[in-house]
């Protein structure tokens, strides 16, 4: 039996070797530049696509190491506030809503994105793809990594047929009737959120526009006391009985799962529904379809909520060149298509060259749901959000604070849950938002 001999000589040799490694480690660390990548989008398939993009980037940029770190849709304001305040910022951030990007840029926290746009090729983008990031004088706070059509109405054709509904609802009255007819036997009509969170605020903004109104006037004065907002509140409250009891705590994940699992007959979400239904409820998959979300009447045009999932670079990050290089790398065809295919229809391409490419089109889900994906692509291209509610609206750099305050979600809860008067509640919300807009 052999025995490990620990002599004075071997100990000294080990110490010398350790010291040598210790001395070279800082040199190695200095040679490698680390780029932290933050995103709230981290489903397993997306992570696999990110891994591919990171590996290919690192292969051609040997001195740069990219580390992906997940954030969350509801929790990012705290994480970013801490990061900016401490100076410990990531090199690149993707998938935050555009109004968060313009808000941070307005506070002087981000680098302009014009260089990255040039590196990608301005001509490759859809026209106006980055208009929500335009901070004036053609200075861009960020760009979209994709488009999203977040308020598509998802329908189950089998349940509609069973309930004797011949056509998809176009107006709110038709939607409510359809939801009522399909509700029963453990299935609810819709998974609308009534929680005190950002989803409720964002979804309710869609309903305000669906009633022909807006949260702000084009010169950014709150307009919550309008008849449109009151109508939206009353309709939203009337839908409460057609939503699951726990919708008072729903965020995006719960709302998506409710439709995918078959617990609700309609859904409100992006194209992620496609991949999730195929994976989690394949028997329902042949029966699902999506349309633009109904409005108060056929005279009021559809309004699509596009989150404009973004890419941005914090100004405090020391290695701006590496960050810009990686930002442009994210749009290289092979990796970008992999990322888009991770959730087909969920994040739609912002580059028309990619949309038209064979590699993007060559996907089973996109082929199977061609009409739905095309509809979402078209709708999202003409979509808006609180950062810019219409082409006439100024860019709203307080959008993040308005959503973060939960005022709109609380407004919904006051009327839908507490049965408070819609007009009085809207006036209350108007004052609160006016106060937020005044804050420096």
């Amino acid at each position: 039996m052999s025995r490990l001999a620990l002599t004075r000589r071997t100990t000294l040799k080990s110490m010398a070797a350790g010291a040598a490694i210790g001395a070279t480690a800082p040199a190695i660390a200095q040679a490698t530049r680390t780029l932290r990548w933050w995103s709230p989008q981290g489903a397993p398939a997306q992570l696999a696509a990110y891994k591919y993009q990171i590996e290919t980037f690192e292969a051609v940029n040997p001195g740069i190491k990219v580390v992906f770190e997940a954030t969350s849709d509801e929790g990012y304001p705290a994480q970013f506030a801490a990061a900016f305040a401490s100076g410990q910022v990531p090199g690149i951030v993707t998938h935050l809503p555009s109004f968060a990007v313009t808000s941070y840029f307005n506070q002087g926290l981000l680098s302009p994105f014009n260089d990255v746009i040039k590196m990608i090729g301005e001509e490759k983008f859809y026209p106006n793809a980055n208009r929500v990031y335009d901070m004036g004088s053609n200075v861009y706070a960020g760009i979209g990594i994709g488009n999203s059509a977040a308020n598509m109405i998802w329908l189950r054709k089998d349940l509609m047929a069973k309930a004797g509904i011949a056509k998809e609802p176009r107006t709110w009255d038709e939607l409510r009737d359809a939801a009522r007819k399909m509700q029963g036997g453990g299935i609810y009509g819709a998974p609308l959120p009534y929680a005190r969170n950002s989803m409720t605020s964002l979804v309710f903004i869609c309903f305000i526009h669906g009633a022909g109104g807006a949260v702000f006037s084009p010169d950014l004065q709150p307009t919550l006391t309008s008849d449109a907002v009151v109508n939206a509140l009353e309709f939203y409250a009337s839908m409460r009985e057609l939503c699951p009891p726990g919708a008072t705590n729903y965020s995006w994940g719960e709302s998506l799962t409710a439709f995918v699992s078959g617990a609700t007959a309609t859904g409100l979400y992006t194209g992620r529904v496609l991949a999730n239904t195929l994976a989690q409820n394949p028997t329902a998959a042949p029966h699902i379809t999506c349309k633009l979300y109904p409005t108060i009447s056929a005279n009021v045009p559809f309004w699509t909520f596009n989150d404009f999932p973004s890419v941005m670079i914090p100004k405090q990050f020391a290695d701006q060149d590496a960050a810009k290089k990686f930002a442009a790398w994210l749009f290289r065809e092979d990796g970008y298509v992999k990322q888009l295919h991770a959730a087909p229809g969920h994040v739609l391409p912002v580059l028309k060259t990619i949309s038209e490419s064979a590699s993007y089109q060559n996907n089973d889900i996109i082929k199977q749901y061609r009409a739905e994906v095309d509809l979402m692509a078209e709708a999202s291209a003409g979509g808006f959000n609180l950062g810019k509610e219409s082409p006439q609206h100024q860019t709203n750099t307080k959008g993040r604070e308005v959503i973060g305050s939960n005022v709109l979600a609380e407004l919904v809860q006051k009327v839908a849950l507490n049965k408070e008067n819609a007009k009085t509640s809207a006036a209350w919300a108007q004052d609160r938002i006016a106060e937020i807009m005044k804050r420096t």
Partner: protein, 295 residues
């Protein structure tokens, strides 16, 4: 006139106590003064830049309903969960003090909720409370006690009741540990004397056990009251402060102001006001501690 030796001793004393004072200043005085200072400004959280506003953060807060509603929610939560923690904690400790089969295993298992991470505990409870797939609603529906699933976390008073119950479940083992330790030191002779005097089990509990537990309960109640008052993660993860702001306690209001509204000045003002309220608890704690020391 002091001798060189005395001066050297004084210097040595100062040097020995200096690390303690430095650490005290770094971890207690600096954050406290910093919070007070910040509360007099309107400061953007990400940039930490802003302007002097004097006491207007305080006047705005005290003049608006949001602080008072937060304080009320805070007091309801603290009182509710504390009472249940004490009742369940004492009952469990009495049970575990008895000679019973698998007593050691039971003593270990009862500590489980206290040791489990709050995030994990909340995820488990959210799943139990779920309207569509939660076991709680499922059992109640099966038993015919309800016709429709109950909305446990999104309507009042259910949300507050659920919070209080989960809080009691999570933290009652702390009471068990403290009370059980005290129970094991109560002399058996006291119970024997009470039995000779004709005291039954209930009388022995009231006249022997409870008075003996008094000192430990005073400390446990005060400590738990302070900890429950500043509880954040459990409430934030379970209800997020909703519906509307019914369960938005003061720590959640601090978070809302600091990160959602990006106003570190106002958040600091809420924290300072919260500290003022907590001082009442601290004063009671020190008085109780002082009385025990004297006795």
């Amino acid at each position: 006139m002091t001798s060189p030796l005395d001066r050297r001793n004084h210097l040595l004393g100062a040097m020995l106590i200096a690390p303690t004072i430095l650490i005290f200043c770094a971890v207690i005085v600096y954050p406290l003064v910093s919070a007070l200072y910040l509360s007099l400004f309107r400061i953007a959280t990400p940039t930490l830049t802003g302007a002097w506003v004097g006491f207007s953060n305080y006047t705005e807060l005290l003049g608006s309903g949001i602080f008072w509603r937060g304080l009320r929610a805070n007091l309801v939560w603290t009182a509710g969960t504390l009472v249940l923690q004490i009742v369940f904690g004492v009952l469990a400790a009495l049970m575990l003090h008895q000679n019973m089969l698998f007593r050691s295993l039971a003593r270990a298992l009862i500590l489980f909720p206290y040791f489990i991470s709050t995030v994990v505990a909340v995820l488990v409870w959210r799943w139990l409370f779920n309207d569509l797939y939660g076991i709680l609603n499922h059992l109640l529906l099966l038993a015919g006690l309800i016709d429709m699933p109950v909305d446990w976390l999104g309507s009042m008073p259910n949300a507050m009741i659920s919070l209080v119950l989960v809080g009691a479940w999570k933290y009652f083992p702390f009471v068990v540990i403290a009370v059980l330790a005290r129970l094991q030191t109560i002399p058996e002779t006291l119970y024997e004397a009470a039995s000779i005097d004709g005291a039954g089990p209930l009388a022995r509990f009231w006249d022997v056990t409870l008075p003996q537990l008094r000192s430990v309960l005073v400390i446990v109640i005060l400590l738990r009251a302070i900890w429950d008052f500043k509880e954040f993660d459990l409430i934030f993860l379970l209800t997020g402060g909703g519906p509307i702001d019914s369960t938005q306690t003061l720590p959640l209001l601090v978070y809302q102001e600091a990160f959602s509204m990006q106003d570190m000045g106002r958040a600091s003002a809420v924290a300072v006001l919260m500290m003022a309220v907590m001082l009442v608890f601290m004063t009671a704690y020190f008085r109780s501690y002082g009385r025990q020391e004297e006795s």
